[in-house]
Amino acid sequence: MIEVKDIEKSFGEAHILKGISTSFEKGKTSLVIGQSGSGKTVFLKCLLGLFTPEAGTISYDGKIYSKLTDDEKRNLRAEMGMVFQGSALFDSMTIAENVMFPLRMFTKQSRSEMEDRVDFVLKRVNLIDAHHKMPSEASGGMQKRVAIARAIVNNPKYLFCDEPNSGLDPKTAMVIDNLIQEITDEYNITTVINSHDMNSVMEIGEKIVFLKDGYKAWEGSNKNIFKTDNEAVTNFVYSSELFKKVRKMYIEENE
């Protein structure tokens, strides 16, 4: 479980995060949503320890990050998996080498043990014959699946995804969303996803945190986002006619 208490983050004059508090539970897929510039990426980078908040605390299963020693921070980071928006695969390595990378860095497994594990996770993300391909030879959807495989290969406790389905067609985006949710359930991981894809919000948002101008404007689940009358949320989530209709139908069905 990740608990965030009153975190603040600024860059020079720009005050990006303004006292955000929330929590992300184990085994649940949580989404952080909001408009561009609302502070989602900065928030995620604070969770990852890439940015240090000026105020507030972030704790991982009770361990407050800012109070950890450098070694403890490094060990904690080894328990994190991250799927970057652009996949961030190492372009000098093959797909199998990319997935094997965390194992080579953090485990003492033999080559054959590592290869077995790589085979297993690549199968898990439905990539069977892609071991020897270079990332540049893979499609966007394949690259995302490789990034997910690399993120989960070392059995992380925490999985972070920055807009995992941006730039993907709707069908592939849904495959990626479902894959992340299945993996979260299967391995009981604390998963936090940055997204502004409303399909993801409706499909897999077991917990949703809505950020607006650096504040937490709303939090809830994909069930009660249909019912909320929070103006900031409705203006953002139901900005399209299609989602307005979906919402109307959902409310009518559940009345």
């Binding site: 320890g49 890439l50 980071r77 970057f84 961030a88 372009d91 990378f101």
Partner: protein, 245 residues
């Protein structure tokens, strides 16, 4: 003020390069890869340039000696001195700042742009050690490249001298052997080690701390070439003053 900030950040990066070392089994592969990319991959261009510039130095020297009282072997002597003292260690380092330096800046810069460095940091890896240290170790073999440059420079001079009809082979060899001071080779290698350190770290600094997109990668490569060259020229002057004056 920005210059001071950059100088401070550069020295912090160097300190960080030696902290939290990457697992040796991984580091070993990175070092061999960088030796291949930075050292072996440079041998062709260094050999080509050294041979022909050695020849040009010889021709220029021979054409500028018109006084019949000056012995012919001076052509070999002048070529040897020019190649060992300045051409091989300094001129080749400037070329390497362009070839190797821009390769280092653009490869690390591209990793920054595509979030690969963020991926390393998220995994708890000391990205500076992982990326810069193998280049630093690989470039400790740079004196080997310079040895080849020295040999081929003198050889190119010999070929130009003999086949150009400027003097005989015997005269050239006598010139190359005349008043040889072994410390000059040591001086050249001391400079080479210092330049190797600059070649590994300055381009890495500009790649690692770059911000922006593809266009900025190109700008960072240019800036790194300029500053690596400036530092090589500046330290060449300081080291020459210290070691030969």
């Amino acid at each position: 003020m920005q210059y001071l900030t950059n100088i401070g950040a550069y020295f912090l990066m160097i300190a960080e390069m030696f902290r939290k070392p990457t697992k040796w089994s991984v580091m070993r592969i990175l070092i061999f890869k960088d030796i291949d990319d930075l050292i072996i991959g440079s041998l062709g261009i260094v050999s080509f340039i050294s041979f022909f510039v050695g020849g040009v130095v010889t021709i220029q020297t021979a054409l500028n000696i018109s006084n019949p009282l000056i012995p012919k072997y001076l052509v070999g002597f002048a070529t040897r001195q020019s190649v060992i003292l300045e051409f091989a260690p300094t001129f080749i380092s400037i070329i390497m700042a362009g070839k190797v330096g821009s390769f280092i800046t653009s490869s690390i810069g591209t990793m920054r742009v595509t979030e690969q460095i963020d991926a390393l940091e998220v995994m708890g890896i000391n990205a500076i050690n992982y990326l810069v240290f193998p280049k630093f170790i690989a470039l400790m073999l740079y004196p080997f490249v310079i040895s080849i440059a020295m040999f081929l420079g003198v050889l190119g001079g010999m070929a130009a001298c003999v086949y150009g009809g400027f003097s005989t082979l015997e005269d050239y060899i006598i010139g190359v052997q005349t008043d040889f001071i072994p410390f000059h080779v040591i001086y050249a290698f001391i400079k080479t080690f210092v330049f190797a350190f600059l070649l590994a770290t300055i381009p890495s600094f500009y790649g690692y701390y770059m911000k922006g997109g593809a266009l900025e990668v190109g700008k960072a490569s240019t800036t790194s070439f300029v500053w690596t060259s400036v530092m090589i020229i500046l330290l060449n002057y300081i080291l020459t003053s210290m070691l030969l004056s």
